[in-house]
Amino acid sequence: MIWIWLHGLIHRRTPRMAAAAAGVAVAVALLACLGAFLAASKATMTARAASGMAVDWQVQVTGGTDPSPVLGAVRADPATRQALLVGFAQTTGLTYTGQTTQTTGSGAVLGLPDAYSRAFPGEIRTLTGSGTGVLLAQQTAANLHAGPGDTISVGRAGMAPARVRVDGVVDLPQADSLFQKVGAPPGSQPSAPPDNVLLLPQALWHQLFDPQARTRPDLVTTQIHIRRSHALPSDPAAAYTAITAAARNLEARTAGGAVVGNNLGAALDSARQDAAYAQILFLFLGLPGAVLAGLLTAAIAGAGATRRRREQALLRTRGASVRQVTRLAAVEAAVVGIAGSVVGLAGAALVGRVAFGSARFGATTATAVAWTAGAAVAGLVIAALTVLVPAHRDARATTVSAGRLTVGRTRAPGWSRYGLDFVLLAAAGAVFAVTGRNGYQLVLAPEGQPTISVSYWAFAGPALLWLGTGLLAWRLYDLLLGPGRRLVGAGLRPLAGGLSGTVAAGMARQRRLLARSIVLLALAVAFAASTATFNSTYRRQAEVDAWLTNGADVTVTESPGASVGPDQARRLAAVPGVKSVEPLQHRFAYVGSDLQDLYGVRPGTIRRATALQDAYFTGGTAEQLTHTLAVRPDSILVSAETVKDFQLRPGDLLNLRLQNGRTKQFTTVPFHYVGVVNEFPTAPKDSFFVANASYVAQKTGSATIGAFLVDTGGQHIASVAHRIRTLLGPTATVTDLATTRRVVGSSLTAVDLAGLTRVELTFALLLAAASGGLVLALGLAERRRTFAIATALGASRRQLRGFVSGEAAALAVGGLVAGAVIGALVSQMLVKVLTGVFDPPPSTPTVPWPYLTALGSITVATLAAVAAAAVRLARRPAVQVLREL
């Protein structure tokens, strides 16, 4: 009997079986694609974390230990690629006497072997002069007003100062980790690297500081800088565990003679946070799609429920038991589930290869098998839930005669009677409020802890909102199509003419099915809209991040110590392709004992060359605050941290110490605090000031410019940058937005979000089109008999079109309107909840109008095509159709 039934299903119900299997396939493919996304992302994160490290480990030899055995132990480790000894000493201060004498506070002096730059190329970047020999860090050179060729004095505790000749000025991009306190407990690391840093050749360093090591051993230490093999597990969490264990192993092998500063471990620690974010993105962006595909399958199966009930009733009148009927449904579910899973996995492998460059569904074999099995099981579960469960329920709960009913005056569904939609919306609001209380922090990774906690709870907010608004839309459409059918009839008059009342009446009788179809379409549209909005907001913020880092299309940063005035702007403006040039002062200012960056801007023109978003400021919009800087030249914008540290209130006097251009002495300059600046182009992420450039120039006697922001109108950025480089030569650093965009890293840059969203947006379009088109097509197919009867009763083609297009229009308008509303609400909440993903956080979501227009157009076009096909099919001779059905 099973084989006969199966044969009949496959040969007589081919389109419906194929459609249900397609729904399962979409869900399986989406889940498997997300597996591929996670696998690819995690592997990328691990690789980037490892490749971004200049020095993987800094092993500090503990006091009194001979470094040679430790170096031997390190080199004996097969994973060690490079291991060099580096000396660290503290200087009491550096002094340079030029026109005036400048003396710094205490600082660090490093002794580097000759091969250091080659072994660890990312640690030192030459800015000016030689890349070897005696090197001054950039800020130290600025503090001393010293440069290549100048001789400085190096203070040593309890000893006479030594004099050395500077060969070059360098930047230390990874100064934070370079000057870490190795072995310090989490949270006790220095807040910033030392301001004064001198790098010496190893021999010279030994000459200067070996004597001090004997008298003050507490001021001299030795480290071994190590580059390791980066053959690590592809999952950042596993890689973190592996590298941490290796570090501990070394510490154990050296019997306490060495402490490992695990830079690579720290980077992987950060990467596993990114991995956690990737997992969250999977939940937020992927799971709704899979749920939607499940709902679509349910709708496809549900569209044939009337026929199925009739067939079941027929089987039972012929003596089939409930168990036998259920068994037949189980066979149907198994065929749908298996076919859908196989097709879905094959599709996912193809999509994974195209979008992520990998057809695997996991970073390791175990995860690949788990994802494949999980996705396939999900497909089988969806098939069982949508095909088997309703059939079993009908077989058990309905009588034979009730099974033959097609429309029925059913009660409102349970969720509607109990107000589940309102409960879900209230719960969504509550969860959102609770999540907002901790600043939407979804990933918590305590420094140095092996465990990482992800607040999956926050996912409940948008999920509940999605479901709650979906059910509310269902309730509203049920009301509109039922009690409000006169209104619907009036709306359908342009399509159905004199039949509009009858069409509305027909829709009212099947409003449960129609409202469900509308809601399914609405949820699909909302999913697509919210995913696209998230994606475009993320892209815009990544662009903003690049803008903040680079400052403008092209940025010319003057070398430390260079004295370039604003007149240089005219020279740059003459370069072909340059639209405008904005000079930006860059100074260092002391507030109390803190040294912070200060940017002097021309308030009237700063926004010509760089985009200032309102989100960068607190206490006013970008326009308002730059206007304040213009009308009150002594006003200043301060970082929130400084406002908090110094208990500032708007209008407060803020005395800063700035270096005078003529005397080179730090002098007090009064400002008045007017607002908070959170972000500013070219500024660091921590504390800084923004002030009026004219005022700063007047008070310091110097109009020296630190950088020029060049606007190219977004055109030919690379070529303009090249022309400027050619014009200025090595005197200044020229960076462009295109390069920065590739290099700059918000925490999630490592996540291949582009691939994910490409897949997501394609699936979303597919689901929206399928939710509308497929459900309408199947619904209309079920009513072929109705259309045949209508034709036999004298309905013209136009009148039939009125019936069909009325339903299609209700579906399209209802689905798109509800989808737009739900999508807008969910997008707002999604962007808010995922604040941590964005860098910097957006002030408002970015609406992707082209995608949304395409989404609406494709949905409407699909529905129109289905309606047109249904009308064409309805023209078949009525008696022929009636004979077939």
């Binding site: 004199g498 009788r509 099947q510 109705t786 209508a790 036999a792 009763l793 001779p877």
Partner: protein
Amino acid sequence: MSLRDGAAARADGAPATPADGALVRCVNVARTFGTGPTAVVAVHDVSCTVPSGARVALMGPSGSGKSTLLHLIAGLDAPTGGTIAWPGLGAGPNGRPGPIGVIFQGPSLIPTLDVTENVALPLLFAGIPAQDAAARASAALDRVGIADLGPKLPEELSGGQAQRAAVARVIAGRPRLILADEPTGQLDHETGGHVISVLLTAAEELGAALIVTTHDAQIAARLPHRWTMRDGGLATRGAGPGDDRRP
């Protein structure tokens, strides 16, 4: 096949009945489904005339071509051979012959419309305003004795009630020819008898001709004329029991 084969039009739009009283005239009509070796000849070489006011029971075994001939006479299907003309009916809307009411074998009410809406539907298709259509539908339901079932849905009706509703739908259209395809086939004998009574009364009141296909000899006996079909051909044509003649 000509739809305008007849005399001048009547006041209601249908042409006046021609002198010989023929509403429908079939000449050597044939209907074959499919082509080649799998082709099925459902009707062949049928010639007949349906006169105004006729009461005909179309009999014959299953597959003899009764329903196909009925559909051809109704204009729902086109013959593959011969001609059909409706000299006494003229052309109705949508290129089909004039006022013919068809009662189908099996359920033919639209499940999403209530009984009144179902009965009014052909009137709406004919362009009658909704209010007038509803009034005529109510009157037709009243005439077949199920006025109280107007707000019910088809699935809430018994088989007999559904067929009465189908009869009401035909009556509401005020046809001059009623074609009923096995209207009692799915009903018990008593209910079937009631349905036939309703049909005969309606045909009488409307002055319409009535053709009923049936297997049931008792049902056929209530109609004064009987045609018998066998293997797609019209075998006999009679005017009462024992009065069968070759067509």
